[in-house]
Structures are given as structure tokens and as C-alpha cells.
Symmetry: C2
Subunit: 605 residues, 2 copies
């Protein structure tokens, strides 16, 4: 979606919009950390994010990759920066194509800083000299596919302090086809608003988005201010200087100062949106938003169009049906379906389901190094040890499990006690949702979709069960006509209630819409998930040395236990599923596996 | 669906199945009456119907047409009879093609009686001599598309009384590829069951369906029995002879006798289905079914796969979404969508909606002759007169209105008082459904779809409103965010709440299924319906002479009034829609239109 449209939508709500800017980190670990942060910062509700252009070979590739991951995996509407610096036309073409293929529809066209070794800016051979040339080129090449923004300089650019001349340049950039302006950082609000008036007086009608730089540390604040030569209000220095050695204090006072400045900006009828230079950090930005009361809250919850995070990848925007199995493995689902030509829209179609990608794509295999995972989950030696790990996850003490990328969701609280009971007894639950019999679509826990609607869920439970209890469990399930199930082991012996079709387990009823049914349970995708689920368990086992008790325990569970999923099709009933397990006791629950097997035998695994 | 599959499904329920046989009537009026009767007899729950082959030119065409109407309009699974008599191969080919195109998948292959002028049976040139040849031919030409049945003769055929030889012929017919046997009429159960045993002993394993001839009058009973030379149990004659002049008495006693015979048949483990020779009449068959307690009831309701009658036309079986507007105009909807290549399945798609057929197809224009309609609806002169007509329909005193082909449905009883109130005040309602917030899919009034499901409806109201109240009504509707609407007049000025998509107003949640949403409200089809609705009103006006008050009244209403439909998207609320009309009074409600306009002016209409 275009930034322009996002701004309009946001304006209609009467609530200011926000956006976050990130830059490509220098190390692989930095990239992973940033991804985790971008993912979490989605929940702060940015209308869009920016990814700056990483000038030079691999860093520019990283920009394209970050744009792709943000769009497709995190469902963040992204604006990709593109500079003229050091960019021959072919590289601009490649970058635009990468953005297009990522589903990205917004470009911020900049001239860019001169390369470090050069003092003065020069165009690359066959490249573009001014941002306006880049704007024109993108418009010519892609028509209206991209919304194009440009930079604004309320206090002058580093090689040009003539603000009025820069406004003339800005007018040319807008006339060339850009529709929004993101400004450089500043702290002098009066000067900024004066500059906005000047822009308007010159006939610049594009939306103006002030760029806000949070204050993390006193040093960074001073360095950046000096470097960009921006004015700092004298009282800011008076307040910050005395506490400059205390980072926490600087952040606290700084966030209040910046928040106050934002309040003044938003009081202007020209300003409806704040763009944050996050410097790849969450906390300073979050503090300002908290101060401004702009964080999602019970009164103004984050709008969830669907119960799962929508991907904004190319051709994926209309996707609105997914199997429940990857509920806690979003990145993996995106990766394993990346090659689909079309995405289920309205209903799950047979043609689609078989084509799940292989298990070696990005995000599919177990996260973390062996060491990290052993640190996280320890070295379980018995079913009871496993049970303890699952309980720690359920109680919010573990951030992930092999089958869940992120920590337990608030939705689970409805059935927390039942899940705890099952896991305490060694029935290891890997996915679940409680029954919901029509709550308002604005419900803070279960709600999703447009206002004035009602959402529903069938109770769902997926868990690992030891082979000795499978027959009895299936017998109990079959006795209740409202329950349907799939049960499979690693070798793929599938058992199911006969006549199973795609079963919609989450749906919503809205005004003037067809029914939306975003989550289904279905056999072909379950079999694809089963491969992944056992692979994740095998990966976990292999974190441990070949002859270790933990390796043997985990491998045995993966080799012998079944994955069972159960749907209660009567969504009025809350706990029939849990009653199925009454009285079942897992044998050798506390028995510790010993590490006596010959090394060779384990080595062949 | 194949008769064989129907028999299997029926057997699985443990309840005997029934089927009805009809023959092509000789007059156009007879055809229309039979269609009405077939439509009504759908509700007696036949697993399928038979249409006999009308030997000779136009009568055979009528068979094909009846098969098509039964399949597509009435949603009756049909078995078409086909005989060898007087049928060169090309005519057999044409008949099979017609059956195929009608969506028919069952053929009863018969040799047929010799043509009247001939004493002895002879094959047509290039035609088929025996039914087994016809069976083989159909199998060769259509593979397994058609299920093929053949005739059985428990008491001999009219030109062959050697029952054992006939069983040998039957074996040949079954071996040639037929899978079920429908027998000639009989009344001697012991002889029949003995014959069944003989068939089984000869290795005939096809399903055997006894043909049951109800008793309508004594004369017909005796004539048919003599003609077919079948045995009548002596006690039957003893019971019927004394009352032979009293048709009602004959039917009463006859239905008890035939019911008793059916009970004996069904007591045999070989017999699970009864085939009724209805002779195109409903009552005698219905009496027997009543006696046998085989009529749909609260305990064993007629299974409705969808809230509307499913068409079984070619390519139409998977259709499961329709606009609500034709709810009471099924034949018209079928006709206006007959040319579609695909039918909405799962959801309503944009591509589909514009292609509604013209208003001149069969079943679209106003039913009945001018005289019949004036007799039915009288000569209204005021809005109050119209109001009275609509009230009579609502109270079950009128079998149809221009916008409703059949009488008021039980479903309406939930909102009967509200509808009566509106119509009493001159707001003329032409379609409606009450809100249903999740009742079991087996609910006798609102239920549909598989067992163990829940069905829902949003309240819907469609009515004619005079122009002077439109603005106020729309103002009231817009005040309630749960209400959406379309409002249009004859010239097509459409008003609607902005951002309207297809709105699912009926849906069902079932075990192991995606959500089914069989009824929607949507603008493009509403505009197609609007043309039809005003055309029907114009047709009604034109039943009356050009300068008559009724013509002028009806024409004025059609030219000036709006059609307004309203959906309450909050399906928990029962009567918000009706409250919208509080306090609105239609002007000149009782004023009678006079017939003074010059004939010429009206004549140009």
C-alpha cells in the first residue's frame, strides 16, 4: 500500500500515525537481532517502516533483503531508500526490481551522502545526479506502482546551508513526481513549522513528515546534532548536560523533551504523522510513544486485519486462509509457501495444498546454535524434564520452543490451566486455541478484522502423545461426534475421522462482507507440517552430543510419539477436548535415560 | 447422482427410500400443472423421480424438457426412461445428449410397447431390438456417466407370460451393464418376493425396486389390473367392490391396502425402496406415505443441503452461493443464470455477477394469464387495496404474489407480526428473513446442511417504499452502523452505504468443512433483480385494461416507488429493521385512483 494512502487512512482515524526507520546492520548477528526487534516493534503499530540504502555491494543487497523480509515475513509496509550515490543505472534498476518483487510499493529517493573517500558529491557514471532525476526515472519506469518520497531539509543539508534554495529544489523533486516528504532530524519546532509554511507558500502540497531522532545517550545526541549542524534548544542542553553520565536518566529526560516537541508538532494542522529514526533500537522510541500515549492500548488496540499477521509480499496481499499448524511458526510458513503463484483467498483449494516447500529454506529449521539452545532448554533426561520445559514456556519463562518461534500468546490464558495440567502429566502441547463463540471483532484478546463484526473459533489442540495411549485416545474421540482429529507418527501413518475436508476453525462475520475464515485444519498441509514438526524435534535432539541422555530421550520421543490434533466442532463447548485425557498416565514419566549406548550406534543417526 | 448411490445413502440411514414416476401430459396446461405438482412433491422427499419416455416426436421432446426442468429448476434427481420402440439410433443419441445436458445421470432402458397400429413389436430401422442392446449401447457411448436401470416383470410382460424366461432376459440386461431393476406394478406380495428369490438364485445381484401403483378410483384400478393381467388378492376386491362408486372411500381403503402391502415388502431384507407410479397425481401416493409414516416429519425432516433448493443442472451441482433477491423466484433465477459457465462455489465472485440473462426467458415474466391474475389479486384501486393483497399473502390466503412464486414460508413466522404491521400501513414487503443467531442445523424451521452444525442469518427486509419516505428512511438507517442497505428506483438511481461488498446473510458452520455461505446481498445482482422486480410489477399493471384504475395505480407505484433492502449485520438483534418505519405514514393511503385518463395516453405505455 502507498505511504500516501496510509497517511490518508490514518488521518481518517483522527489519531497521529507513526513510522520507524532502520538501517542495515554490519554483522549477521546484528541482522538477526534487528529482525527480532522489527518483528516485536510491529506491535507498536507503525503505519510503515523505512529501510535506508546500504551504499556499496553487500550492504545494498542487505537493504533489499531487509525490505523483502519486512514485507513478506513481518507484514510491515516498507519504504525503501534509494540514493544516487555510487549508483549506475543498472544498480538502480536491480534495486527497484528487488523492491517490486518483495511487494514493496514505496521508495524514498535521495541524493545521498558523498562516498567517504570523496569530499564533493559526484554522480556515478551513467547514474543520476539529483534526487529529482531518480524520482522522474522511477515514475517513467514504474508508473504509479511506487509511491515516491523525498528528503526535506528544514535546517539545511550538509553541503548546502541555503534553506530557501533547498526549498526550491524540494519543489522540483515534488514536481518530478514525489508525493511525500520526510525531513531530516531537528529539535527546533518553531523553525520547522516556519519552514513548513515556507514550503506551502512555494506551492509544495505534498505531505510533510517530520523526522524525529530519539535521545539514547548524551554522546550520541551531541555527536549527531553537531554532525547535522542542527539547532538544539538551549533548555534541552540545560536539562541534559547535568545528567549526561547517566544513560537511563538521559533517556528519561530526553524522551520527555522529544515527546513535548512531538506534541507541539502534532498541534499544527499540517502534521499528522511522526517518523522515528530508531537507530535500530526500540527503547528510546517506545518511551516517546508511551509519553505521547500513542502505543496501542485497550481503547485503541492494534488493528489486526486477520488473526495471523498478513504478509505483504508480492501477490500475497489478498491471502486470507492458512492452516493453523504454522500459527507459531510464521517465518517458516512464509518460506515454505514462497513459491506459490497464488495464495488462498476466500477458501482453501485442493490445488494449492500439496506444494509446500522443502525443509531447508530460511526460517524453517530450528532457530539458534546448539549452545544457545542447550542454554535455553537445558539437557532433559526424562519425560518429566521435557514436561518442565513445556511448563516453563507456558508460564512465560521461556521465549520459544522448537515449535513456537515466540513466547506464549495472551489468547492462551483462557485454557492456561488445562494446558498446564496436560503438560504436567507429560502430554506435550505444541499448538492450541480456545473455543470462542462470537465475541466482538474489537475484543482485545480474540478480536480481529473490521469493526462491528463478530469472531469465532473452534477449540483446537495439537500435542505429542506417547504410542501407548493413542488407541484409547482415538476411541474416546470417536465416541464424540463433535470431535474430529488427525493423528500421525514420524513415518506418516495418518489416522483421521473419515470424510475430513478443510475445516474452518477461525472465522469472522462482518458488515457487508462475505464470511472470512482465516484458519483451517486440513490433511495435506498437516502432513507437510508433520515433516517439519518432527524435523524440529530431530534438530533439537541433535543439539546434544550423539551418546548423551538428552539426545537419546529426544530422539526416542521423535521416533515413537505421535502428533495428535483435535478440533471440537461445537464451538459452544470449552473443555471436551481436555476431558479426553482424564486418567491417562504416561509410563516411566520420571525415568531418566542413561547415556550408555555405544557411540557408533548413535553416530549413525 | 446415480440412483445406485442414492439407494446406498438411503440404506445407510435405515429409512426406506421412495421415488415417483411421472409421464408427459398431453396439454400445455397439463404440463404446467404437473410442474407445480412435481415442485410441491419435492417436499415428500423422493430420492429420485422417473419421467417416462413419450414415444413419438413432440412427446419425446417433452420428456427431455421435463427431465431438464426437474433437474435444473426443481433439483429433483431424475431417471429418464428410454425405449427401443420406434427409435432409430439418431433419436436415441439425441435423447441421451439431452439427458446429459440436463445434468441427468440415470436412464431406465426399456424395450417399450409396440406402437398402437402394430400388433407385434419390431425394431425401428437401425434401432435397437432389446433393452439389453440399449443398455450396452449407453454403456459403450457414455461409460459410467449414466446409471442404467431396466424393467422387471414379476408377473410376466404383456407379450410374454413365461416368468422364468423373462428372468433369463433380466439377467442378460443386468449383465449388459444395468445396476438396478424397477418392476412392473403388482399387488401379490408373496409372488413378488418369490420372484425376487428366483432372480437372486439366477445370480441377479442388482438392486430390485418394486413398482407401486396407488389406487385412485375403482375403475382405474380394475382397468390397469386387467390390462397388465396382474393378480389381485381376493380380499382386496372384497373390500373395494362394495364402495366402488365412492372415490374418496376407494382411495381411503385402497391406500390402507397398498400401505399394508408396502409394509410387507419392506419387511423383506431385499427391499429398501418403493417406486410409486403416481399417474401424475399427488394425493393417492401421499396417503400411502402418510399411512407408512414415511413423510418428512419433525423427527425425520426433509434434508436441505442448503437453505435454497439446489439445482442439479449440468455443472451446477457444486453451486452454493446465490443472491437473496430470487429467494421466492427460483425458476427465474435458474433461467437468468442458465448460460453461466461456472457457478459460484464457496464465494461470490465479481466476474460472475454481471451476466444475468434477459427478462424474456422461461419462468422470468409474470406467471398466469391476465384473467387468472385478476381473479387471484382482484382489481386494486388504492394503496390500501394493495396492502390488503399483501396481507392476504402473508396470512396464507394467496398462493403467490408477482414477486413470490409460492406461498409464504414457515420461516417467516418469526417476524410475521412485524411484516403484517408494515404491510397494513402500505409498506409492501417482497422479501425478508429473520435474524438467526446459531441454531442447530437440524432445526425444523431454519436448519439446513449436514448434522452437527449451526446455522445463522442476518435479518433482511426488502420492500417497496413511496418516494416521500425514502430520505427519512435512509437517514435513520445511516444512523445505525450495523445496518447496510441498497435503495433503487425504476430508472436505476442506486443509493447504498459506501463500501459495500458481497454481504453473506446466511451461513453455516459444520464439522470438518469450510464455512458455507449460501446467500448473499450484493449490488450487481441487485440491479439485475431490480429490472425483474419492476418488470413483474409492470406485467401486473398490464393485466388490467389500459385506462382502468388498477392499471394506473400499479403503474404509478412501479414508476415512482423505490425498492429498498436492508441488512442488519448484527445478527443478535431481532427488530431494529422494523423500528426504522416507526411513525411513517403513507399519504393518500385510502384514496382510490379513478379511470379518467385518456385511452391514448395510457395506450402508449
Amino acid at each position: 500500500m502507498h505511504v500516501g494512502q496510509k497517511l490518508q487512512e490514518q488521518a481518517a482515524t483522527g489519531r497521529p500515525g507513526i513510522s520507524f526507520e532502520y538501517f542495515p546492520p554490519k554483522t549477521a548477528q546484528g541482522v538477526q537481532n534487528l529482525y527480532d526487534r522489527m518483528d516485536r516493534m510491529h506491535d507498536l503499530g507503525p503505519a510503515f517502516i523505512d529501510v535506508t540504502w546500504g551504499a556499496g555491494g553487500s550492504r545494498s543487497e542487505l537493504t533489499c533483503e531487509m525490505v523483502r523480509i519486512a514485507q513478506t515475513v513481518f507484514g510491515l509496509e516498507t519504504c525503501m531508500h534509494l540514493t544516487c550515490t555510487d549508483m549506475p543505472r543498472e544498480r538502480v534498476d536491480a534495486a527497484l526490481e528487488a523492491a517490486y518483487n518483495a511487494g514493496c510499493t514505496n521508495i524514498l529517493a535521495l541524493r545521498g551522502d558523498p562516498p567517504r573517500e570523496q569530499e564533493k558529491w559526484e554522480a556515478a557514471e551513467g547514474g543520476f545526479r539529483y534526487a529529482k532525476d531518480l524520482v522522474k526515472y522511477i515514475r517513467e519506469k514504474y508508473g504509479n506502482h511506487f509511491d515516491i518520497g523525498v528528503g526535506g531539509y528544514p535546517e539545511g543539508a550538509d553541503d548546502n546551508s541555503d534553506v530557501d534554495q533547498l526549498i526550491d529544489h524540494l519543489k522540483e523533486k515534488v514536481d518530478a513526481g514525489s508525493t511525500f516528504i520526510v525531513t531530516q532530524m531537528f529539535y527546533d519546532v518553531d523553525n520547522f513549522l516556519n519552514w513548513v509554511d515556507k514550503c506551502r507558500a512555494k506551492g509544495i502540497n505534498a505531505a510533510i513528515i517530520p523526522g524525529i531522532m530519539p535521545i539514547s545517550t548524551y554522546d550520541a545526541f551531541m555527536r549527531r546534532s553537531n554532525w547535522t549542524k542542527i539547532r538544539i534548544p538551549p533548555d534541552w542542553l540545560e536539562k541534559l548536560e547535568p545528567v549526561k553520565a547517566d544513560d537511563a536518566k538521559v533517556r528519561e529526560i530526553g524522551s520527555k523533551l522529544v515527546a513535548e516537541m512531538c506534541r507541539k508538532l502534532l498541534a499544527s494542522p499540517q502534521i499528522h504523522h511522526l517518523h522515528f529514526y530508531t537507530m535500530n533500537l526500540a527503547q528510546a522510541t517506545r518511551l516517546i510513544l508511551e509519553e505521547l500515549k500513542l502505543l496501542p492500548s485497550e481503547e485503541a488496540p492494534l488493528h489486526k486485519p486477520l488473526p495471523w499477521r498478513r504478509s505483504l509480499g508480492l501477490r500475497r496481499r489478498s491471502e486470507d486462509v492458512r492452516p493453523i499448524f504454522w500459527r507459531n511458526r510464521n517465518a517458516s510458513y512464509i518460506a515454505r509457501t514462497a513459491d506459490w503463484d497464488e495464495y488462498p483467498n476466500g477458501r482453501w483449494t485442493d490445488a494449492r495444498s500439496p506444494a509446500f516447500g522443502e525443509l531447508n529454506a530460511y526460517g524453517v529449521r530450528l532457530k539458534g546454535t546448539n549452545e544457545q539452545n542447550i542454554k535455553l532448554w537445558g539437557a532433559p533426561k526424562s519425560i518429566k524434564d521435557l514436561s518442565d520445559i513445556f511448563l516453563r514456556y507456558l508460564n512465560g519463562k521461556l521465549e520459544r520452543l522448537p515449535w513456537s518461534d515466540s513466547s506464549v500468546t495472551p489468547e492462551t490464558s483462557d485454557i492456561h490451566n488445562e494446558l498446564v495440567d496436560l503438560n504436567k502429566r507429560g502430554f506435550l502441547t505444541i499448538n492450541s486455541q480456545p473455543a470462542v463463540n462470537g465475541v466482538k471483532s474489537t475484543d482485545p484478546v480474540h478480536g480481529w478484522g473490521p469493526r462491528n463484526g463478530f469472531v469465532y473459533q473452534k477449540a483446537y489442540l495439537e500435542l505429542l502423545v506417547p504410542p501407548e495411549h493413542v488407541d484409547e485416545l482415538l476411541r474416546r474421540i470417536e465416541k464424540n461426534p463433535d470431535l474430529t482429529y488427525y493423528c500421525v507418527n514420524k513415518t506418516g501413518e495418518l489416522k483421521a475421522r473419515s470424510d475430513e475436508g478443510p475445516n474452518a476453525v477461525t472465522w469472522g462475520i462482518f458488515a457487508s462482507k462475505e464470511i472470512i475464515q482465516p484458519t483451517i485444519v486440513e490433511s495435506v498441509s498437516f502432513m507437510a507440517w508433520k515433516d517439519e514438526a518432527y524435523q524440529l524435534g530431530d534438530d533439537w535432539a541433535k543439539c546434544h552430543p550423539a551418546d548423551s541422555p538428552s539426545r537419546k530421550l529426544l530422539q526416542r520421543v521423535m521416533d515413537e510419539w505421535y502428533i495428535l490434533n483435535i478440533v471440537n466442532n461445537d464451538f459452544h463447548k470449552k473443555d471436551d477436548i481436555f476431558r479426553l485425557f482424564d486418567g491417562l498416565v504416561i509410563k516411566d514419566f520420571e525415568t531418566e535415560v542413561t547415556g550408555t549406548a555405544p557411540v557408533v550406534a548413535n553416530g549413525t543417526n
